[in-house]
C-alpha cells in the first residue's frame, strides 16, 4: 500500500466512459436492492475505475519483508454495458486473467473500484456481496480441470443452488439442471454421468451450464474456447451468442485468438503488461488501430489465406514481454516499440483519444495510450 502512494502516476482520463453513478446505500438491504434492480440495455452495468492488483514479492522466512511487487494489473478503467460483449486481448502475462479474478472478487484489489450497478463490489461483504456474486458468473478456460471428476454432471451444475437456494427450491433442482443441459445442447439424460465421459466441447458446455444456473447478468469468459478443437470452437461460440440473446447476458470475453474476439465482441480492449493500451469498438480496433502494440499484434496473427503471405507487411516485435515485477518506466511498451523516443521513457501515456484525432469524426478517434498514436491499417495492408 505504502508503495502505491509513492507513485504519482496520473489516472487515465477515459473521457468517453460515463461518470460513475454511485448508488447511495447505507444499509446492506439497500445495497441488495440496488443490485437486484434491472439495468437498461446499453447502460453501463459494470464500471471499472483505476483497478490495481499488485502481488507482493517477499524475502525471508520468519520475518518476511516485501522486496517488490508483481504489478499484474496496474490501473485500468473500462465500462461493460448491459447486453454487450467486451473482448479483452493481450499476450500471456498481461494481466487479463487477473482482471477476471478481480471482477469475480476472487482476489482483493490493491486499489481501485469496481462498480456493479453503482455499488463498489471491492468494499461489499455479507449478503450484498453474495447477491453480486450470483449475478457475475465465470466460464473457465480448461474444461478438463475446472470440473470435479468425482461429481456427476447434475451435482456440478446444481451446486450453485446449494449456495443460493432462493433460485431453485430443493424439489425443483433436478428439473432445473435438466433444463440447463437442454439449453446448452446436451442430452438431459446425461445428468448422472461423470465429466470423463464427455469430450472437451461437451465439458465446456457443462461449464457454461453451471455459469448459467443462477441466471446471472454478466458472464466472464476466460479463454473459453482456446482448449477446444477448431471444428468444436465454432459450436461453442455459436452457443454463447445464442445464450446471450436468449438470456440478455453481458459478456467479458477474454481470449488471445484475435479473430474469435472480433467475431463475438462489440468492443475490444487491448492489454499490455497490466495496462490498457487501446480500447474501442471492434471496427475501430481492427481496422483503425492507433497504438503500435495493437498494430504489431494484429499484423502477427497468421491469416488463413496463402495468397496474402507474400504482400503482407508484418511487424515482428523483438524480444519478450518485460517482467511485470519490474516494468519499464514511462510507456510499458517502449522497450519493444519502433516509435519509442525519450518522451516515452519519461511520461506515462494516458488512455485517451489522441490529440490529433480529437474532435474529428474518424474511426481512429478512440482511446489509445500512446504519445505517437497514428492510424495504420495492418489487417488489410496487402
Amino acid at each position: 500500500m505504502a508503495e502505491l502512494s509513492k507513485q504519482n502516476e496520473p489516472v487515465d482520463a477515459t473521457p468517453s466512459v460515463s461518470e460513475v453513478d454511485v448508488a447511495d446505500a447505507h444499509t446492506e438491504a439497500e445495497a441488495v436492492a440496488a443490485i437486484e434492480a434491472p439495468v437498461e440495455r446499453g447502460e453501463p452495468i459494470l464500471q471499472v475505475r483505476g483497478l490495481v492488483k499488485h502481488f507482493p514479492l517477499t524475502q525471508g522466512i520468519l520475518f518476511k519483508r516485501q522486496i517488490g511487487a508483481v504489478k499484474a494489473v496496474d490501473g485500468i478503467s473500462f465500462d461493460l454495458h448491459q447486453g454487450e460483449t467486451l473482448g479483452i486481448v493481450g499476450e500471456s502475462g498481461c494481466g487479463k486473467s487477473t482482471v477476471a479474478k478481480l471482477l469475480m472478487n476472487l482476489e482483493r484489489a490493491t486499489a481501485g473500484e469496481i462498480f456493479y450497478k453503482g455499488q463498489d463490489i471491492t468494499k461489499l461483504s455479507g449478503r450484498a456481496l453474495k447477491a453480486v456474486r450470483r449475478n457475475i458468473q465465470m466460464v473457465f478456460q480448461d474444461p478438463y480441470t475446472s470440473l470435479n471428476p468425482r461429481m456427476t454432471v447434475g451435482d456440478i451444475i446444481g451446486e450453485p443452488f446449494e449456495i443460493h437456494p432462493e433460485v431453485a427450491p430443493k424439489g425443483d433442482r433436478r428439473r432445473k439442471v435438466q433444463d440447463l443441459l437442454d439449453v446448452v445442447g446436451l442430452n438431459p439424460e446425461y445428468i448422472n454421468r461423470y465429466p470423463h465421459q464427455f469430450s472437451g466441447g461437451q465439458r465446456q458446455r457443462i461449464g457454461i451450464a453451471r455459469g448459467l444456473a443462477l441466471n446471472p447478468e454478466i458472464i466472464i469468459c476466460d479463454e473459453p474456447v482456446s482448449a477446444l478443437d477448431v471444428s468444436v470452437q465454432a459450436q461453442v461460440i455459436n452457443l454463447m451468442e445464442k445464450l446471450q440473446d436468449e438470456f440478455n447476458l453481458s459478456y467479458l470475453f477474454i481470449a488471445h485468438d484475435l479473430s474469435i474476439v472480433r467475431h463475438i465482441s462489440d468492443r475490444v480492449g487491448v492489454m499490455y503488461l497490466g495496462k490498457m493500451a487501446e480500447i474501442g469498438t471492434d471496427q475501430q480496433i481492427y481496422d483503425h488501430p492507433t497504438h503500435p502494440y495493437t498494430q504489431a499484434l494484429l499484423s502477427a496473427v497468421p491469416v488463413p489465406d496463402p495468397d496474402a503471405r507474400e504482400g503482407r507487411e508484418r511487424i515482428i516485435l523483438t524480444g519478450d514481454v518485460p517482467s511485470p515485477a519490474n516494468p519499464p518506466s514511462g510507456c510499458r511498451f517502449r522497450t519493444r516499440c519502433w516509435k519509442a523516443q525519450d518522451q516515452c521513457a519519461e511520461e506515462v501515456p494516458l488512455l485517451a483519444i489522441p490529440e490529433r484525432f480529437q474532435g474529428e469524426d474518424t474511426p481512429a478517434a478512440h482511446e489509445s495510450a500512446c504519445h505517437f498514436a497514428e492510424e495504420k491499417d495492418v489487417v488489410h495492408a496487402a
Binding site: 499476450e91 500471456s92 469430450s199 466441447g201 461437451q202 478443437d229 477448431v230 471444428s231 468444436v232 470452437q233 465454432a234 459450436q235 461460440i237 455459436n238 451468442e241 488471445h256 484475435l258 479473430s259 474469435i260 472480433r262 467475431h263 471492434d282 504489431a296 499484434l297 502477427a300 496473427v301 497468421p302 491469416v303 488463413p304 489465406d305 496463402p306 495468397d307 496474402a308 503471405r309 508484418r314 515482428i316 516485435l317 523483438t318 519478450d320 514481454v321
Partner: protein
C-alpha cells in the same frame, strides 16, 4: 556420418515440388494402440512425401493421428502399447522400419530431427541448456566437452538468442517460452539434418512470439535447404508457411493439395467445413459455420468414410465404402498437380 549421399542441391528445388527425389516417403502406414477399451486405430494407411527444401503441413484436430505418424517416423513411438502393423517409412529410399536400432539411432538427430510442442517439458530441467545442446555434438560427433560447449554457443547465436555466451550455462527455467523454443530449434538444427519434423512448434506461444519463431524457422530452412514437416491445427500458420498440405481425419489423409489450391477450392467436405468455421469479417453478427458432432473415438471409427456422421453431403455409399484418396481433376478432366481427395463426392465439393 554421411554414408548416405547428399541430394543434389539446386536453388530452385524448393519452388518446384515435382523435381528431386523425396527425402522422406511414408507408405500405407498403420499404427494401432492396444488399450483397455479395445484397439485404437490411430493411423490407418497414411501416404505422404517430403522433398528437400519443401514444407509439408500436416493439418488435423486432436486425435487425427498427425503426431502419432511423426512419432513413428522418428522411431519414438511407445511400443507397447503402440504397434506399427503395416507400412513403410522410406528415408532416402531406405525403409527405416527394417533398420536395426543402432542404424536408426544414427539417423535420428543427425539426419531427421524433431521440434516438440512444449519446450519446457521437452528440455531436462536439471541440465544447463548448453550441456543439452552440446550432447548432440558429444554423442554424434564425439567432440570433447569444451568443443561441444563452443558449438552450443554457436548454435544459440544462430537462433538469435541474445548474449549466447553468457547464457549457455543457464537452465531451461531461466528462459522465456519463445527463447526455450529457440533452444529446441537450435538442438534440432545442430547437426544440420535433412529433415525437420516440427510438432505444433508454436502452439504454446503468444502470437507476437509465434511470428518470431516461425520466421526464424523459415529462414533457417531456406539456408540449410531442409525438408520441413509442420504438424499443426492452425489454419493461419499453415497458410503462412506451407508448400503443400495433407489434411488428416481419424488416422487417414482426407485431402492433399498445394497450399493455394486448398484454401481456394477445398475438395473434401471436412476441409471445407474447417475453412468455413474460421470467423470472417463479412460474417460478423451471424452464426459461424460449425461442423456438427464430434471427432470419432478411435476405438470405434464409423464404417465407411469416418467423417460420414458429421458430413452434410453424406449418402448411403459413405456409410458402407471407405473412399480412397483419388486424384482431383478440373471439371474438364484437366490434371491438378498434387491434389487428392478421399471423398466419394469430391467433384460436387470442389466444383459445386
Amino acid at each position: 556420418m554421411t554414408l548416405i549421399d547428399e541430394a543434389p542441391m539446386s536453388p530452385y528445388q524448393g519452388d518446384d515440388p515435382d523435381s528431386g527425389e523425396p527425402l522422406l516417403e511414408v507408405r500405407d502406414l498403420h499404427v494401432e494402440f492396444h488399450t483397455r477399451d479395445g484397439v485404437a486405430k490411430a493411423v490407418n494407411g497414411v501416404n505422404y512425401s517430403v522433398k528437400a527444401g519443401e514444407t509439408l503441413a500436416v493439418l488435423g484436430e486432436s486425435g487425427s493421428g498427425k503426431s502419432v505418424t511423426a512419432q513413428a517416423i522418428m522411431g519414438i513411438l511407445d511400443m507397447p502399447p503402440g504397434r506399427i502393423t503395416k507400412g513403410e517409412i522410406l528415408f532416402r529410399g531406405q525403409d527405416m522400419l527394417k533398420m536395426s536400432d543402432e542404424e536408426r539411432r544414427k539417423l535420428r538427430g543427425a539426419r531427421i530431427a524433431m521440434i516438440f510442442q512444449d519446450a519446457l517439458s521437452s528440455l531436462n530441467p536439471v541440465y544447463s541448456v548448453g550441456y543439452q545442446l552440446g550432447e548432440m555434438f558429444r554423442v554424434h560427433l564425439g567432440l570433447s566437452k569444451k568443443d561441444a560447449k563452443a558449438k552450443a554457443i554457436e548454435m544459440m547465436d544462430r537462433v538469435k538468442i541474445p548474449a549466447a555466451a553468457a547464457r549457455v550455462n543457464d537452465y531451461p527455467h531461466q528462459f522465456s517460452g519463445g527463447m526455450r523454443q529457440r533452444i529446441m530449434i537450435a538442438m534440432a538444427l545442430s547437426l544440420e539434418p535433412d529433415l525437420i519434423i516440427a510438432d505444433e512448434p508454436t502452439t504454446a506461444l503468444d502470437v507476437t512470439v509465434q511470428a518470431q519463431v516461425m520466421d526464424l524457422l523459415a529462414e533457417l530452412q531456406r539456408e540449410y535447404h531442409m525438408g520441413l514437416m509442420l504438424i499443426t491445427h492452425d489454419l493461419g500458420v499453415v497458410a503462412d508457411v506451407a508448400d503443400k498440405i495433407a489434411v488428416m481425419y481419424a488416422g487417414r489423409i482426407v485431402e492433399r493439395a498445394p497450399v493455394h489450391e486448398l484454401y481456394k477450392r477445398p475438395a473434401h467436405p471436412y476441409t471445407k467445413g474447417l475453412l468455413d468455421s474460421i470467423p470472417r469479417l463479412d460474417q460478423k453478427g451471424q452464426e459461424l459455420y460449425a461442423i456438427k458432432g464430434l471427432p470419432p473415438n478411435l476405438t470405434r471409427i464409423p464404417s465407411g468414410c469416418a467423417f460420414n456422421p458429421r458430413c452434410p453431403m453424406a449418402q448411403d455409399i459413405c456409410r458402407t465404402d471407405i473412399p480412397a484418396l483419388q486424384p482431383v481433376t478440373e471439371r474438364d478432366g484437366g490434371e491438378l498437380v498434387g491434389r487428392g481427395s478421399a471423398c466419394h463426392f469430391w467433384k460436387e465439393t470442389i466444383h459445386g
